[in-house]
């Protein structure tokens, strides 16, 4: 049982449900408290300990069914069918097994049967299930990838569980029976039974392998779906993907916020600051009206975002803005500018309530700039240099997002140099692959010397990596 629960936990993990070690242990403890006869209770007990996200529940239920039910039922069915088949041939399974058991008892001691043979002769299906699972694990069935491998892994599993050996044992047993004087008719029935048993075990092993393949496919599809989204280039997104991506970004941002706040918590509530308290309350005759605690403060950075919103990079801008919008509290102040050629400030748009509306508006130039023109980075940076350079100080991180495709205009890289001189650091995110930087009308190479961090940023994975780097 323990092993099986562990295998199930691993299956959950492989399918993208995060289960920590502690939660796995909780699951065991939970099972200790309950009677496990009730499948529903069993399922809910494992779930409450290991699956904590509403979104994962459907996947959990599916996996539970796939893993826990089913195979035993498959076994049961197969053996019921065997019993039916034998009955049709005039063989009474129960009776013949009972007879066999009695005769075996007489030769007690001399008989040394394998686990498998014993399970088959006593029709102990749970034991048989265990043996198959164990053998399948040793055969590496968990690695199965496609239909063509079903035969291969089934054979390996059968080998691992010693099916041939068991078959031999059963044949020998029949011979012993004959030697002990069992009648011909009965011997024939017995032979029929043994043959059927072997056939049924082979078939159920195959069923097991097929189920394993199903589970793997489930994992595969799930993983694929997630990876698709984080790896998918922002350049080609459907409406639907944009909507889903928005959720993923929200979740990533939340994760970062949680990390930030927990870290902040660690700087616990400080001790009483006696000196400050006395000084603060001097005017009230030193009566501690207002109490001051010692606290450690960590300065939050200021953030200035310069965001290219030309249509070629609109999606990248969209998700970067969403990220930053969600993380506003990580900064003392965020100022946000958008540009194509002209530069406009959209900070106030961000103070509006609705995040998606705010972002769409910013991408649209926020009513302050014309977005339907040809990109001119140099012009935009110069505008910034002229009007806003003064707002940059040593606590400011300047984040620029754009492909640096400048339409052969003047790059005015010295503007960035001056910005870098005044800022804490300058980060540039470019959605193009580095191999394209500096070629054609790309002037990325001109700006790079004045940036502290330059990253390729074309999908969610890259984006979240950069955000981690800047904030954490």
């Amino acid at each position: 049982m323990q092993k099986k629960v562990i295998a199930f936990t691993n299956l959950l993990r492989k399918s993208g449900i995060r289960v920590s070690v502690a939660e796995g242990i909780d699951a065991f403890n939970a099972l200790d408290e309950l009677s496990l006869d009730d499948r529903e209770i069993f399922r809910d007990a494992l779930r409450t300990a290991m699956v904590k996200r509403g979104d994962d529940i459907a996947a959990y239920d599916e996996l539970f069914e796939l893993f826990w039910s089913g195979f035993y039922d498959n076994l049961r069915q197969a053996f019921d069918q065997m019993e039916g088949d034998l009955g049709a041939m005039g063989v009474d399974l129960d009776q013949i097994l009972r007879q066999l058991a009695e005769m075996m008892k007489e030769m007690d001691g001399e008989l040394d049967l394998s686990e498998l043979a014993k399970a088959l002769l006593t029709q102990d299906l749970s034991q048989l299930e265990n043996l198959i699972r164990q053998a399948a694990q040793e055969a590496g069935t968990g690695r199965i990838e496609n239909m063509l491998q079903v035969g291969f892994f089934s054979r390996r599993t059968a080998e691992q569980m010693g099916l041939e050996g068991a078959s031999q044992e059963l044949e020998n047993l029949v011979e012993r029976m004959r030697a002990m004087g069992m009648g011909d008719a009965q011997i024939q029935q017995l032979q029929e039974l043994m043959r059927k048993l072997m056939e049924t075990v082979r078939r159920t092993v195959r069923t097991f392998t097929e189920r394993e393949l199903q589970q793997q496919n489930h994992n595969y599809m799930e993983k694929f779906r997630r990876e698709m989204l984080t790896e998918k280039s922002f350049y080609h997104l459907t409406e639907d993907e944009i909507a889903r991506m928005r959720e993923v970004v929200a979740r990533l941002a939340q994760r970062i916020k949680n990390i930030l706040s927990i870290r902040k918590k660690r700087l616990k509530r400080g001790k009483l600051d006696l000196h400050q308290t006395l000084r603060r309350n001097m005017a009230r005759g030193g009566i501690p009206f207002e109490v001051v605690y010692k606290t450690r403060r960590k300065d939050r950075p200021k953030l200035v975002i310069l965001c290219d919103v030309s249509s070629s990079v609109a999606n990248v801008s969209r998700f970067m803005l969403q990220f930053m919008y969600s993380l506003q509290e990580a900064f003392t102040k965020i100022r946000c500018y958008v540009f194509v050629a002209e530069l406009g400030e959209v900070t106030s748009v961000f103070q509006e309530k609705d995040i998606s509306a705010a972002i769409e508006k910013a991408l649209d130039g926020g009513d302050v700039i014309n977005v339907y023109t040809r990109s001119n980075f140099g012009y935009a940076f110069h505008e910034f240099w002229k009007n806003h350079l003064a707002s940059i100080d040593k606590k400011t991180t300047v984040m620029i997002l754009g492909d640096a495709r400048n339409n052969y205009n003047d790059a005015k890289a010295w503007c960035i140099r001056d910005i870098q001189n005044k800022a804490k650091n300058v980060v540039w995110l470019n959605p193009e692959s580095p191999s394209a930087w500096g070629f054609g009308d790309s002037v990325m190479d001109r700006y790079m010397p004045y940036c502290d961090i330059v990253e390729e940023c074309r999908n969610l994975r890259q984006l979240s990596k950069v955000v981690d780097q800047i904030i954490l």
């Binding site: 909780d26 939970a30 009730d38 529903e40 809910d44 409450t48 300990a49 930030l260 918590k265 509530r269």
Partner: protein
Amino acid sequence: MRVNEREEAMFKSVQDVIEQLGDQGYICDKKIATVVFLAQQLGKPVLVEGPAGVGKTELAKVVAKALGRNMIRLQCYEGLDEAKALYEWEYSKQLLYTQILKDKVAETLAGTQTLAEAADRVGAQDSVFFSSRFIVPRPLMQAITSEKPTLLLVDEVDKSDPEFEAFLLEVLSDFQVTIPEIGTIVAKSMPLVFLTSNDAREMSDALKRRCLHLWIDYPSEELEVRILDRKVPNIDKRLAEEVVGLMNRIRALDLKKTPSISETLDWARALLALNAEELEDQIVSDTLNVILKYEGDVEKAQNELAKLIKKRTAEVAAEKPQGAPAAEASAVKKGILH
């Protein structure tokens, strides 16, 4: 596990949970009961999530009642901080004491030369003014210091700020608080903890890891009929089924606010008050505002109703092709769900 030191009410099994909560008027399935039972046995907090009005808060209340525990409730909101949740210094009382003890203070300060020296003297007496005497315990502190085992309900934890969540996490992990001026206070008896969340924001993984998780969804039709039966006495079984059936259709619509169990209850009561015996379309139409709060939602539900009636009418017409107009009228009258 630190429960059961004294004679204490305990649930004996999952079935026992179902029965005892049922006695308190809370109808639940095995799913809920299993988690409640495990929370008791393992002494772990439960994070209850789900849409509004499905009985998250109520669950904590009835568990407290069933176990005869005192329920301490911490209602979360944006801006809730440690001081409001854990303890505060009672400044006015401190002030009062300082005034009353003025002479004593002067005595203490007698002979000091400099301000710094005086301050040191006062500092040495810190502990007098920062002792438990001057602490106002808030819910978390109450739960920790209670002599008898309690049930702590942290309601709508998703409304609190992430900072607060992090703080909560600390309290939940060891059930002790450290007050810098006084020391560490450890819980005398383990409270049973329920946290509820409406999913306004996702709770952190760290918090989730520490809790058992319970997802309460809208109830199955069968369960909801039983809840109605229990909470609205006098309701006719058939009417209850109709109400629940229609409610589930309405829930399937894309609404701004999906009606919940409390709305089902309100609706059933309203219908009883109007002496309705079955859901005729006029009555439904008239009472939709009991279950739907937004104009747009009411409209959507009206449309859905109209569709249902039309379908029903067509069916009746198909049954009796010759008397179409009469059939139409009777179909509409006959209540839309049969």
